[in-house]
Structures are given as C-alpha cells and as structure tokens.
Subunit: 331 residues, 4 copies
C-alpha cells in the first residue's frame, strides 16, 4: 500500500487531506508535519478529524520513506519542500500556487521570486477533469487554487466550443477559504451578518484561469471577483458569459452533458445549486442556463472549497497517480 505524508497538516487543507488519507482504504498515512504545532496530536487540533497522529517537524531525512506527499504550505514556502521531495523520488501533490502557472514571469508578477522554477514546466495542473492523463503520469501535480476549479469546470465546455466572447465570474465563498489563522475576516463579530467583495479588480487566481482557458482555445480577459460570505465551507461561482453566437438551452445542455455525463464528481442539475448540497464532498454541482432576455449564458457551480476546491481533489489526483479508481476513499 503506498505510503503518504502530509506536509503542513495543521492548516485547514492539510488537516482535511490527512483525514481523507487516514480513512482511505488504499493509502497509508504515515506522517503529518507542521511548523509551529509540532508535538500536538492532529485530533486535538481538529476534533472532527479523528486522526491520532502526532504532528512532527518536517525533516525529510527521517520522513521521506514515503511514496507520495501532499504539500500544504503557503506559496513560496512550498517550492523548497516540493523540490526536496522530488529529489528523493517522492511524488508530490502541491496545494500551493507555486507550480500552477506555466510561465515564470506570470508567477513572479503576482507572487514574487520563485524559489525553484525548474519544476514549472513538468508539473501537471491538477484539475482532474481537464488533465486526467497528465496527472496519472506526473511526478508533481499542482493542485488548482480554490476558485479555478469551479470556474474552469463551469467554462470548459463553452471554451472548447469557442463560445465565450466575454465572461464575468462572481464568486462567493465561506471563511474556510481564508484559513486557520484567526483574523478579522473570520471573526464572527465581523463576518457574521455580513458579506463583502475582496481583492477587488485583481485576484491572483485570474492568470491561472486565463491560462487554462487559453489551453482550451479561448483567449479572454476574465473578470473574476470573489466575495466573502458568513459560512464556513463552500463556494459558489456565478459565471455570466456573453456568447460568440446565440445558444439555445438544448445546445447548452448538450455541451455540458458531452463533457460531464461520465464524470464521477461533476453533477449536472436542472435547478440552482447551493453550496450546502456539496458540503463535505468531492462533487462539483453545475447548472447552466441561457437567459432569453439578454442572450447571455449563465453557469452556476457549487463545490466545497476545502474538498473539491483543495484537499479531496488532491486525493482524487493521488488515486490517479497510483493507478487506483478515481473515486476511492471519496464517496
């Protein structure tokens, strides 16, 4: 059974990845590491996750006897850990932004200097439904950011059909996306009974999404705007597409069914999806409709930002990388 470690297991994404691997029938979770919380039981930090492993300080000399690792570090901090793991022959799913973009310059425009750009070109982009084959063979998988998964699953069928003339994505997510470190955005006295846009006119997931759309043949400037809402897990993206030509409902439905009918974790629905529908699951639930009044195409996608948006998609990718059924441990 493949042995797996989670580096950075004290944050929300790493802890959930650890929990999913702990309960996975075909992976053995051997090691969980953390920087400041080393020495604590993971189950004490996260009572809901009953993972009875002690968090350790990262020390690859002791811990690298693993076949794979999920790295849940902040951008820039992840790259050196990824590098060391790859050097030791460990296959890696990196949850950070460090290897999502193919162009070094784009990375450095948004994130600053890249510690190990040499792996940029051979990393597979970890949106499973778009890059399944590359992921299966990759030594390094760059898991998507929390917003691109929903956005790209919403737009891919339209991008492939060259139907996108202009597109606006208005996204709403819960505070789990902000992370574990307490701040005013996650303080109930501030976010309770509240909802607001953030990173106005310039979210750094935009280039990642534009690059992926370009790979599908659509070159477009994406207007992407996230909002924070008063709940914990989950994300809804509302995409408003001005089509290159008129599209009726039947054609629209056909495009989505052609792409997703056989996908185990994409649910096409005929009524508006809610984030609660997919909470604690790896599903992305999508509703596409044509607006007869404006002629625009509307695509709504709901997913759990910690699950399909991050950690369960990482496990989905690990399944592929080790030749396991893609749904193993996820349903």
């Amino acid at each position: 059974m493949p042995r797996v470690m989670v580096a950075g297991a004290s944050g929300f994404a790493g802890a959930l990845a650890a929990d999913l691997l702990w309960r996975h029938p075909d992976f053995e979770l051997t090691t969980v590491t953390a920087r400041t919380e080393a020495g604590q039981l993971l189950s004490d930090l996260y009572p809901r996750y009953r993972v009875p492993l002690m968090l350790e300080t990262l020390d690859l000399n002791r811990q690298a006897e693993v076949d794979a690792a999920i790295v849940a570090y902040p951008h820039a901090a992840a790259a050196p850990v990824v590098h060391d793991l790859l050097e030791r022959g460990v296959r890696v799913v990196d949850l950070s932004a460090d290897y999502r973009l193919s162009e070094l310059q784009t990375y450095e425009d948004w994130y600053g200097p890249h510690p190990h750009p040499e792996h940029l070109q051979h990393a597979a982009y970890g949106l499973t439904e778009l890059h399944r084959e590359r992921i299966a063979d990759a030594a390094l998988v760059a898991n998507p950011g929390c917003y691109p998964t929903a956005t790209l699953l919403s737009l891919a069928p339209l991008a492939r059909a060259d139907l996108i003339a202009d597109v606006i994505v208005d996204a709403k997510q819960g505070v789990a996306g902000v992370g574990r470190a307490p701040n005013y955005d996650t303080h109930l006295s501030f976010i309770g009974e509240n909802l607001y846009p953030y990173k106005v006119a310039g979210h750094r997931h935009t280039p990642e999404m534009e690059e992926q759309l370009a790979l599908l043949g659509t070159h477009v400037k994406l207007q992407f705007q996230p909002h924070l809402a008063p709940f914990d897990q989950g994300q809804l993206t509302s995409a408003y597409v001005t089509p290159t030509r008129s599209v009726i409902d039947d054609e629209l439905a056909g495009l989505f069914e052609a792409d997703y009918a056989d996908e185990p974790f994409v649910e096409l629905v005929t009524s508006p999806p809610g984030v609660r529908d997919v909470r604690d699951t790896n599903f992305c639930r999508i509703h596409a409709v044509s607006d007869h009044h404006t002629g625009k195409l509307l695509v709504f996608a709901a997913l759990d930002n910690l699950w399909k948006g991050t950690s369960s998609q990482a496990v989905q990718n690990l399944n592929l990388m080790f030749g396991l059924p893609e749904t193993m441990g996820l349903s």
Copy 2:
C-alpha cells in the same frame, strides 16, 4: 403633527415602518393593521420593536382619519387598499410592486392583472435620490423593490454619462428579503451554511430597473441575478459594467462624487463595502472602481434591504412629502 397609519404591519417591512414612525419626532403613528394577526400587540410579534400598539383589521371607515399611510401588502393586494386611501385623500407610500412600472402591459406580463391601473401614471417612483422633487408633491409614491435601490444608485451616474454598453448585476441578500412567513428558504437547516442563486434568468425586478435606466438615457438589457445568503438583513449588489469607452479611476470617482457628494444617505467609500456596515441604517454605501486588466467598471453597493431597501426609504419619502428634513427620524 401628521398622522400616519401602516397597513400590513405584521410583515417585516410594515413592522419596521411602524417602528420608525413610532420613534419619529414629527409623525404620529396612529394605527397599525394586519390581516391574520389583528388583535395582537405589535411588540409581541416583534419584541425588538417596542411599539405598544394593537394590530387592527383594516377598516378605512374607522381608520382613515390619517394624513398618510404606508401600505405593506403583497402586489395585487396592495392596489385596492392604495386606491381606497387615495379616494379618501390620504397620501400613500406603497411598498408593493403595484405602482412602480409606468407601463400597464409590463406590469401584467410579470404580475398578472392590475386591480387599479388608473393610478399608474401619476405615481412617483420612490427612489429618493433620483426623484426627490416628484416625490415631494406626490399623492402616491411607489417605493422601489428591494434590489432596484442598490442597483440604480450604483448605475445612475454611469447611465447619465452614457457609459453603459453592457451590465451584469450579481446581487446577494439575506433572508429578511424573503419575508416573515417561514419556508425552506428561511429555515436555518436549509439556508445555514448555504448560498444559492434564485429566480435564475428572470427576476421580476428587471423591468423596473431597465425602465429607470431608460429614464436616465440608457437603454440596456440588464442581466440581474439574485442570490440568497445565510444572514438576516442586508444586501450587496456587484455591478459589472462594460463601458462605452475607456474610463479611468479619477473620472469614475468624479462622476459618483458629482451625483452623491451632497446626498445624506449615500456613502462613497474607497474600500469594499459590507452589508454589516449599513445594517439598521438608511445608508447605501458605494464603492466604484475601474479594473485595469479588463477595462470594466465595477460598482459595489451595500444597503439594508429592510431599511434603505424598503421601510426607511419609505420614511425618507414621507419626510419629503410633508416638508420635513429628509433625515428626520433616520439618523
């Protein structure tokens, strides 16, 4: 001191209107009516509102000794009450949709037969900042729907300057907008930890907004999409405008300041507004910005859907109608 009644005071909008009038220094709230809750104290239905009046069955023969009325009835049910009040010489602020549209046909397309279309043409549209003068003289004010206030305040400066080539408004509101009658949309086990779009591709506030934009010289098909979010009061609209020409930040700021610098209840802010910032107030807080990447103009507006979105704007209008300072009883 003008005497005022609230017809339909058991719902959220009517009850807040009653509370605002009860505490108003220059109006006397004499009567509150309700259909099924008559005989109960308003303060028992709404402990937060300490209005010690008994809800009565509507009976204009007994109650019409008032100078003004706020009518908080559902559409179609409101028109006959409005009619009877006008017949008796009572000035009316109607919170329903019945007199917001100037065209009977448009009304009937969305709402069905109109019981009293004869008042459509002389009703003033009650978005105070746009129609202050007409409101002051009106016998009948049709208070805006809960979404049009934020949307129109966001778009008016751009519409007047003929800058809107295309526009999408993505709105998010709390469950107070759904109303007092319990249903699955307001049940905490359904809306808690949830967020979803509703009335997809066809919200009936759209014609009202398009008509008002047309009055400002902009004829555009508005893509308007509301979402329900897990909080009580408040509303955020995110407007994405494709401009007719390039607009830089300074010009954009100038347009909004020219229109709103002297408005007592519009707050222009330089950071993203949150619905909590304006909770329990008559303020609408607006942030406009130009996106350098896409060239689009983004306008975010937050207001309290029960206050500026409904009931406190009704009082703002009543102040105007009776020659009182517009801010009286509202700050």
Copy 3:
C-alpha cells in the same frame, strides 16, 4: 443481507437514517416512504444525501418484504405503523416517543391516548450503552428522545454509584431538533443572533429520563431545561449534580472510565466538548469535573442530535439486532 425500510423518510431523522442505511455495507435499503412527499426522489429533497430512491406511500401489503424497519413518525402516529410491522414479523426501531416509557399512565399524561399500548412492556429502550443486551434480542426498540441520550450517558455512572442527590440539566440544541417543517423557531430572521429557553418547567422528555435513572437505582426529580441556539445540528447538555457525598476528580474520572473506556462511541475528554467536535458522527463526547468551590459535579456531553441523538443510534441498534459489529457503517 437484511433488507430494511425507513417509514417516514422525508423528515430529518428518517432521511438521515435512509442515508446511513444506503451507505451501510451490510444492510440493503429497499424502501423509503413518506406521507405528503411520496413520488419525489429522496435525493431531491435532501441533496446532501445522495439516496436515489423514490419516496413511496406507506403500504405494508407491498412493502413488508423487509427484515427490519426504522419508523420515523410523530408520536401517536408511529404506534399503528409499528404495530402493523410487528404483526408481519418485521423488527422495528421506532424513533418516536410511543414506546420509550414503561408506564402507560405516564405516556398518557404527557402525550394523550396511546393507540397500541400492548407493545409497551416488551419494547427495549434504545440507548445502546445502557441496554445493549435487551436491544440485541428485541423485536421492538424504542429509540431515545434527542435529549435523553446525552443526559443519561452523562448521569449513568453517577446514578449507578448512587452519587446524585440533586441534578439540573441545562441543554442547548440546534434547530435540526425542531424538524423539517418551517416555523418561526427555525426561521433565520428569528433564530439567527438569538438563543432562548423553551418548554420552560415541563419538557416531556423528563419522565423518560427519570425512569431510566430509576432503573439505575437513582430516584430523583430531574430539572431539565432545553434551549434553542442558532445552529443546525448538535446538542450540548450541561449537568450540575449535587453529590450525595464529596467526590474528588480522580474518583469521578474513574467512574466514567469504568463505564465507558470500552465504549466505541463514547469519548471521554479532558477539556470542554463542543457540538462541532461530534457533528455528523455517532460519538457522544463527555467531560466530567468536580467543582472545588461548590463541591458540585459538572458533566458536559456533546452529540449530534440527528446522529447519536436519533438516526445513527438507530443504526447502531440495528447492527446489534442483526448480529453485526456495532460500529458497522458508522465510522
């Protein structure tokens, strides 16, 4: 594999029971019934539960080819269904109050006439940890009310040791306990930012708890007071025991460990438990402490009112009844 039906699967308790059985490796869920929602897919009513069965009208002539049934009906409505199932040789876990009390008179004092009192005496009380042996052999298991599970698990070690002179239980639960039918108690505009006691001085779970304590040798008048809090699933009980003699922490810990160390679903913890710790699980998490200032014993218990408080405990009992490992399908 035993075939199981859930009668009354459209409510919160029945729907979760159906979901647990659907995913259970050793039961086959064959039928789900509902009274007013028959004809709908269970997964449409509850998107989170991906149970693709159609809700049917109850008709035992067609549906009784099952080995067991979970009955999730309101009290008084449950008894006739339970009766019919028992007549057909189907083993039953009844989630209602109908068979929890041993004395008919007590039942009728709190609930009114009992439609089928003849099964009262042979029903096993379904608090697994207290009545494991009787449950295993029972044809009819009366699953506990949502509050008694936490309360009795908190008090049983003290009751057995004859340590309870007086006891007050202050309970707090989320709105899932109120049920699926929308009302003001579950309306986010009423329960949001709120918390209040209900059924003051007279909750009908009291006799059930007092009877069970009496079986353990403790005859006491229990002061039980529930409160409703603004969250969905979960329940915390805070028990304040005036002991019959002084008890130090070590003795207290020893009593709880003696009873629960081997229990798979009782977690003894050394810090205060939160309802979130046990959300979506069959665990009851307990923290007992002696207050040096007052001499009282404090026992806090958290559980998920829909899971261990109702439906997953029903499955725990079904496991016992069919000779399966008690934890099967629950971890």
Copy 4:
C-alpha cells in the same frame, strides 16, 4: 454640557461607549484614545458606528480637560489610568474588573497584584438597579462584568427575600464578549455550528456575584458556568434556584414586580426571553417561573452583553452621575 472621553475606544466596549456618547444629546464626546490603533478614524475601525473622531494616544496632559471618562482597558491596565484621571478630578466609569470587588485579597486571588488598590473602597458598583444612589455621587464607578448584570438582576429579588438555598447559573453568550482581537473562539470556522462551555468550574466573575448577593443578605456558593454560542452580541442566563421554602408563581411574580415594575430598563415578561429581543438595547428582559415538578425557581434573563452588559449601562451610570434622566440617550 459635560465633556467626556473614552479611553480604550478601539475595543468593542469602548467603541460602543463612544458611539452612544457621540449620539447622546447631553454629553459631548471630545476624545477617543487607543493604544495600537491611534491615528485611525474610529468610523474606519467600526463602520457601523459613524463616529468621525481620530483615535489618539492616551496623554492626560493634553486630554484631561474632560468632566468624565469611560475607561475600557483590560484589568490591571485600567487601574493606573483610572488613578490618573481621578487625580485630575475626572469622574470615571471603569469597565474593567479592577474596582468591582471590595476585598483586595479576593481581587489578587483571581487577577494578580492590584496596581492601585487605594480606590477599591470608595468605588461604587455600577449595577444601576442595585446601587443607584451610590453611583449618582461616586467619583469612580466600577461597571459590572458582562455576566453579573444578568445574574444579579435575576437573583436580587430572591436574595432580598432570603429565598436562595442553592443556585446554579448556566450562561450562554455570543462572541462579542470575547472581544475584538481575533482568536479561535471567534473564528467562524471554529465557533460556527458550535457551542461549548468555557472556564469550567472557576469563572472569575463568581466572587463579584457572590459579594453582591452577600450585600443583599444571601451568602451562597454560586455555581456559575458560561458557554460560548455562535452569534455576535447577547447573553442569556438561566438561573436554577433551590428555594429555602416553597414559593408559588404568584408570590414569585410579586417579588419581581415589587423590585422592577418601575425600572425603565428591566422588562418582566411572561414567556421565555431571547437574546435577540434585547439586541442593541439597554434592556434586561426577565422571566421567572416556579417549576411545579421539582419545586425549583427558574429565572431567565436576556441582555445585550455589549450594551446593558457593558457600555450602555456605563452611559446609564454617567447619566446618573451628572444628574440627567437615567434613560437619556438610551432609548
């Protein structure tokens, strides 16, 4: 018009006190200070409070030209500021714990060394309803802790009548009571869908409550247990009293009416109070009932922990100290 400053206006309590004074018709708020946020506008920190004053560093040489001050500092940090203000002849309402206890030893047992114990004896305890006369004349008022106000208002009528043999108070409050600095207790991902006890068996408000009960003639060891619940402002206390003799409902009601019928901010109600009923008000809403089954007396009290629990009660006391009507600026 008396000039007032708020020292420590960047925290929740100080900011609300500033807002109340800013809108108060008979006080002039001249200065707001903060330690780390000096230089920021108070209205930027708290958009809901539209107080357009700049936060300053505390410097009594410049700022002491005031008649009164509300000091909102943590315990131990407050005493030196209070001391300096008193030296300059400024009357003070201190929101900290520093002057609530009459015995130095008790203070030091719970809080450590006291920087200025010399003011302990002449401070008036600021629970208005119990100490109105002393407060009116005091140079220093020690405002109660957030829990004692509700607890003492609940128990005072019973304590005066010597009816309390034993008492347990189970309290629940929202996260506003935890304060502005973000931590895990206020992080929505931790407190959302959660509820838990804290400071188990040893809350430091206990001696303050016991001392006040003793002043009313009742010497009792109070079992006080707070819980944190997923909402912002508000507090409910549930008091369970074992009476010294049997008390029927009529006598109980009479005791509370005798004490509170004329109190402007105590509301006696005949149904269970909710924290939402008193949100953003200075009211404490109380429901007392005798349990016929157990013979115990139950008293439930709801208040807003930031308002009557802290800052609006401070203004209520300031009104008294300056000979103004007690309700001025508070209704």
